[in-house]
Amino acid sequence: MKDTQELTKIIIVGGGTAGWMTAAAFINRLPKNFCQITLIESSQIGSVGVGESTIPHIRQFNQNLGIDEKTFIQQTDASFKLGIRFRNWRQIGDDYIHPFGEVGAITNGIEFHHYWARAQQLGLESDFEDFSLLAKASRQGLFSDPAIVNQSQFCNYAYSYHLDATKFAHYLKNYAIERGVSHIDAKVISVEQNDVGDITSIELDNDTQLSADIFIDCSGFSSILLGKTLNSDFEDWSHWLPTNKAIVAQSELVEHSLPLTTATALPAGWQWQIPIKQRMGNGHVYCDSYMSDDEAANLFRQNIKSKLITEPRLLSFKAGVRPQSWKNNCIGIGLSAGFLEPLESTSIYLIQHSIFKFLEYFPNKQNMQAERQQFNDEINKTYQTIRDFIILHYNLNNRDDNGFWVHQRQMELPESLTFKKGLFAESGRVKPGQFGVWPSVCIGQGLTPQYPDARINYLSKQQLEEFLRQEKQKIAQTLKQLPPAHEYLTKIYQEVSCD
């Protein structure tokens, strides 16, 4: 073993979701007194203030940090989420759910969608979604802690939360500061580098200069360290994901909401609805080459049936990634490193993934090159996998109502996606590690495998019919065990306030 030289100081620039998730995870995971962590944010600048729909990995984040679920829910005004409802994506009038977790049981080592596709070929028509407990539960507004479910196949189902992004960051801020993270409210105005390009110190607008061994750039789209100082290239993916603007606002919640994020396709993009405790988050994501900002704003307002409680805000962005999100001694986490539009609620997951990858590969001071290369390799792969999955939603459409959709259908796809899509279309196979539940989205958008797994060909039509009937029955029985989601959630809020 060689002598090691540990890092002693870490500076995080940015106090949005990415900054505080990083600070909280670092202070929790790094041994006590191992290094000094300082977070700098500017209240003058503020954070992006969106990012309210999550995927189940967030529960792992909370568990790793020892965060109690009930407290978390109350502190962040969270509600439960079982998947995403896609409306009008394939064509106007279509409606399917991409649930968390597999649809149907894997039987004899063969995934359910093969049985389903074979049944379709034999004339046994059924709705794929009917074989997903989570899809059925979310449409019926049901939810409970999976542990109460008395059916082994479902007693561990995946779920996540909708939450208030500002409250989430605030909660993590308290968590991190209580455990020893130093916090400075100031603006970074200049950056010093040494002759190899490493950042040595930053100057703040309160006349202080701070040095560190590692700088984590969580400064959002402005990417002041990774992008502006270190000129880490940005790989532009907007030719595949051309939406570049969003109008966002919050509205009143008028009825009990379903444990779902809703994504409704519109002529040049789509609109989300994210229900949290007492309000609805709304956003219209669109491509301004196919729709003006005014048109987009009007459409946005028309689609919200309740009263707005915040003024609509316009955000601009560009899809892409910095392939070197770790450059020199600076690691970009969050929007500073890349952006994929929120269709599959993946950004917070990407933040979490980068944080834990960095902790896994925590470097010594003198030589970070190997860790850096490895980290960048793995993070890029994750971005690409998610990118492909998001493009797939746009690409599988039959809409002709706007040039936007025609373009999305006809454009040349990334090679990796052409393969994944072709493979599914042909044989229903999904490569290990492909992000998301591909069969749900593919079948939901009309792509059914031509040759389902040959190993089920011995099943007769009657046998398949019986198999499908049993699968449905299991779901029906389990649904009876689930309470209404809003009742379950209310109980949690009441419990915590009694505590």
Partner: protein, 460 residues
Amino acid sequence: MTNAEQISNIVVIGGSYKAWFSAMVLARACAPLSKVTVINLPTERNLVDLSFVTDSQFIDLHKNLGINLTHLLKTGAAQTYSAVQYQNYFDTENTTIGLDLELPTFRTIELHHVLASSDSTELANYSYAAQAALNNKLILPSGKQGHISNSFQIGLQMDGASYVQFATGACQQMGAQCFSQEIAAIVKDDNTGLIKQISLVDGTNLNADLIIDCSWNSRFSQKYFSSKWQTLAGEDVSHTKMQTCVQTKQAIEQHQQPINKHLVVQKQTANTSNKNTLGLQQQFSCNGFVVTNEYIAESRTNLSQNAKVIEYQIGRIDKVFSGNLCSLGAIAQFDKPIFANSLLMVRALTYLLENFPNKQHSPFNREYLNELIEKDISELYQFYSVHDPELSNSAELLVAFFCASGRVERQLNPIIPYQRWINHLAALYPAYQVEPMVKTFSRAEIEDFLVSVKERIKQL
């Protein structure tokens, strides 16, 4: 899929354990929809009784077919092993590496990081699998989740002739046919370009939808689908030479004692060989076909008795699946077996079953199968190349990363399990940099932990 799209005739070519194993797996898994026929080429007969070493996935695949370990041990006159002893491979004369899936951790820090900052050096001292093997104890994973007694795999050292006898019987039971003849002609369909018929010298014509070439070196894939034989690094093959090695017959057939529960891999340098001109592979010719079982009786290690000289060419095929022909075993990839070489074939066969083609052999599925197998081959090559400085190093980043941080990327479904990579790299590059967090713990805390691990292993 209609019946017209269903593979109904599978033809397996070859006569070694690999062919019979493949035929048995396919016959069991694909009955009653597909019929399996074996063409046992006369040229292959010499290979029937080669002994072989397998990994846990070989055992698992049998288990999935309803053949349990005890049965397998009997039928293959087999011996389990839970560790491999490498002689003259690493800096030390003998290095034992357990087939660990996971070693105990100290406050989430992996053992090899902890160990590097203590006085102890050998990971094997803290491996239940290695210690059991070195103490001549037969152990099987206990099945207790997360327990030290379950955190390893076992492999088998098999007698080829016994296994072939068993697999032949199993194939017959499943209705598989066998023809022991030469192939006279192979006929392709003009429209699809796929092989449709195989004619034997006695005039028998066999219909074929899927052909599995398990022969030693018939190379049908090169002949009928213009695939290429390459070096393991994927380069042109012209500069690689045929190698020879010698396999002795194992004494296990005669139940000789004592039996060691670890496998021994020796690196031998022939005195006569000139390293520069002959290349490193020459050094691996040793008794016991590279893999030498210590239980081979002294008298039988004399190469003149029961010894078989085998010619082989290190390399790989560029596409394992071409047209409707899949090459499995040595015909697909071959290198010195520094560990169970049959693993690649077992995995390829598993991929094939899981992604079974239709009669039309749709291109995406074939490409996908090739991609899965390709990933295994390149990982294996990385594994070989870290051990062998004379191979072009396909694992530069991996080694640099390990040396600089003591870490290895956790892959999805790797062919070499994560902990095995760590065990080997730690033996090869003992000066790796450790995780900085280790420094926050006192030496005494670390020593206490290490003593407790040893104690636990001893008790087990």
